[in-house]
Symmetry: C2
Subunit: 450 residues, 2 copies
């Protein structure tokens, strides 16, 4: 049932555009949803996109613009006048309108045009522009249905008929007093099933969960996820109802947070994707590579202290990759378990003895297993007995230390307000490489010199 984009379809559309076959373009595209039209447009060049765009009515054009990726949209809208952009924006929900407007360089100009066309909408959008994108205010829309406590269902439905054109999806009617203070909600289901004469005050649910406009977006997401909400009302610090957040925007927040964590873990310093320019990709990749490089050079300097030692027992060098890789792997495992706990409950950043103790126990078992196995394997392979012991003792210590580092680092980063997922990336690996080398050579030095 859902649309699937094929190369064939793109070729047909491209052909039709170059032939000027308007009929074909119109027929094939009209049955698509805005999201699908957007994905077709990504495969065309800007001129072709503009051409098919002209075949749709204004509301559909507005919806398509709202569905485009930010970077594509900015480029696409450069081909339209402020007047045209204002016409599309006015047809969108206030949150989508504010998002698009915030990307435009000629913001002021567009707002002025909007103010002439639709004063109320312009005011709503201007209000929303004040909030950071990563707060409740940045996610909310102004469109919602509000009912006074003293209304009847009939009066409420009447009012809804007036307001409904402006509001996309309705999940709840929010109940306010004469001062616009949020008192509760009535579900649309309840309204539909109640008699027309029923008073809102008799059926409303006063236990409504609301959020403050400055609550971080990720907290709003956690809240809506926990309580299975499809919409949540937003209030200002006097408790007045100023907007609502719908679940579709929150789903985007959840996805974005997961992508950010993944990028932090993989050593990308900025949010990039494969489609970005070579330059953006390089800028995102180089910083952590540089830090890893500094770690590697420091490691080389450290090993330089043991030059004679390595020259005498070159087999010492054979196990350097084993030691550093094990430290890296253990550290990332530990840190990502902590990152996951923090993601589920960010307040749970206790350095508890229980947590450290349990981490230690798991590390201890892993350390015994790894060090023991390597001991056996090295004895079978006929390495020198002394070296075999050095490697296994070092491995044991590295597993314990890397595990401790992996546990503590994300907790510290979290305390300082840095995304703890960074600790699961090159940072932990670099630190553990150095730690591992230090432990290995100190153990060797102690054992061989006695």
């Amino acid at each position: 049932m859902p649309f699937e984009l094929t190369q064939d379809f793109i070729d047909q559309i491209k052909q039709a555009i170059s032939d000027g076959n308007d009929e074909f373009v119109k027929n094939r595209m009209e049955e698509l949803l805005p999201q699908d039209i957007a994905s077709v447009m990504y495969e065309l060049d800007i001129e072709e996109s503009k051409y098919i765009f002209t075949h749709f009515d204004k509301k559909l054009r507005a919806d398509i613009i709202s569905e485009l990726d930010e970077s594509y949209r900015v480029e696409f809208l450069e081909h339209f006048t402020p007047d045209e952009i204002a016409q599309y924006i006015t047809l969108l929900d206030s949150d989508d309108a504010a998002d698009i407007l915030s990307e435009q360089e000629n913001q002021e100009e567009i707002i002025e045009i909007l103010e002439d066309q639709n004063e109320e909408k312009a005011k709503d959008i201007k209000d929303l522009l004040h909030y950071d994108y990563d707060t409740a205010g940045g996610l909310m829309q102004k469109e919602l249905i509000r009912a006074n406590l003293n209304w009847t269902i009939e009066k409420c439905v009447e009012e809804m008929r007036i307001q409904a054109k402006k509001v996309g999806k309705i999940y709840s009617v929010y109940v306010v007093d004469n001062n616009e203070k949020l008192l509760g909600r009535v579900s649309v289901k309840k309204m539909l099933l109640s008699d027309d004469g029923t008073r809102i005050s008799d059926i409303y649910d006063p236990d409504v969960i609301s959020v403050d406009a400055f609550m971080p977006a990720t907290e709003v997401a956690d809240l809506m996820k926990k309580y299975d909400l499809v919409a949540v009302p937003v209030v200002n610090n006097q408790g007045k109802l100023i907007g609502r957040i719908t679940i579709d925007d929150v789903v985007d927040v959840i996805t974005e947070k997961a992508e950010m964590d993944m990028q932090a873990m993989s050593g990308l310093s900025a949010q990039v994707e494969e489609e970005d320019s070579v330059w953006d990709l390089t800028k995102a990749r180089l910083p952590w590579l540089m830090i890893g490089m500094c770690g590697g050079i420091l490691g080389a300097q450290f090993l330089g202290l043991f030059e004679n030692f390595i020259s005498l027992i070159p087999a010492m060098a054979f196990f350097i990759p084993l030691i550093t890789a094990t430290g890296g792997n253990v550290g990332i495992q530990s840190s990502s378990l902590i990152v996951q706990s923090l993601a589920r409950d960010p307040s749970f950043d206790e350095f508890s003895l229980y947590r450290l103790g349990k981490g230690f126990l798991v590390a201890f078992i892993n350390a015994i297993a790894i060090a023991g196995l390597v001991l056996i394997v090295n004895m079978i392979l006929g390495e020198s007995l002394k070296l075999t012991f050095v490697v296994s003792i070092a491995l044991f210590s590295v597993v314990i230390l890397a595990s401790l580092m992996g546990t503590v680092t994300p907790l510290i980063l979290n305390r300082f307000g840095i995304n703890p997922a960074v600790a699961s990336g090159p940072f932990i690996t670099t630190m553990n490489d150095l730690l591992g080398l230090a432990v290995y050579f100190l153990v060797a030095y102690t054992l061989f010199k006695i």
Copy 2:
């Protein structure tokens, strides 16, 4: 406004339980939502949990059970008879009921009791038990409002009054023909705003997106996310309406998928969390550590071939950590970009020349930067000129090769139906360690021997 669990609150509740202060327990707990009561219960022992549980009415008890974590729930329900469990299950939506039932050992017994109490519900739940948890069928619930094409709004509202008790949230009314075939939907908003005499056939929207019962859960999630849906109807292969999936369940799928990717990247072979037992955590961590260990031992064997070489030029060993770490970091960056693209659009697994070419270009720039910088630093630090060149040439080659590996591996894994995120973990690192060592010593061997 939302509840925040404090140690103080837990202490008070524990004290009240041991004092048998029922009044206090009831007053403090009753105002909480099921999700919050569940989080309080995690902090109590089972006996205390059972005690506070008895203070709630049956519907709330059922909701609490449905909100508990699976592992806690299994343990908790061991303290209840099949008869009691059946009583709670019958009060829940069919999807939650089926989830709970599927965890119970005495499933058959509970179903028999359910069949006596509520035949229709029992049938719905039994139907749902047939579907895998990671398909549309495993996410859907049987509860939904269906309306015949020929009904009027009035008739529909009348039917809804009868059905509404059974259905939690209503977003849409699904329109079917006389054979239960899905024809379209009517939003609750539209029903509320239309006159009672209006026919469903005049106002319904035939362009409804539906899913097949066997569609993978992650595809359902992508679909609902893309089209901003809060509910989607599920049809069987004859197009008959058999259930619906609501957004709250899909949000859980999205979160779980992100957690799975993160765990795959961090070298955990099973889905674990910090709270799991030491044994479970060890089982999840050891397999990848073992594979890393095998890689390390292979690396040691390889380096063993160059024993005399290292003994002669011990400085060769100094740069082993730099080479392996850089390879690892580059590989993970490349693979996670591909994993991200695949997560957004799983069908986009083309080995296109453009993709490889662009990846190569980025790698080339990074390689020049890293190798060049290390060249300069090593010259400043006064390393031998020959070694300096060997290290930089090796670094250059390693960045290019690791980038290629990181690009190709996830694409191959995806083709074989393996979670490509595995490629961003210890697998890529281990492979790149070996590759890096090979390149480094081959370059050195070639340059020093000539």
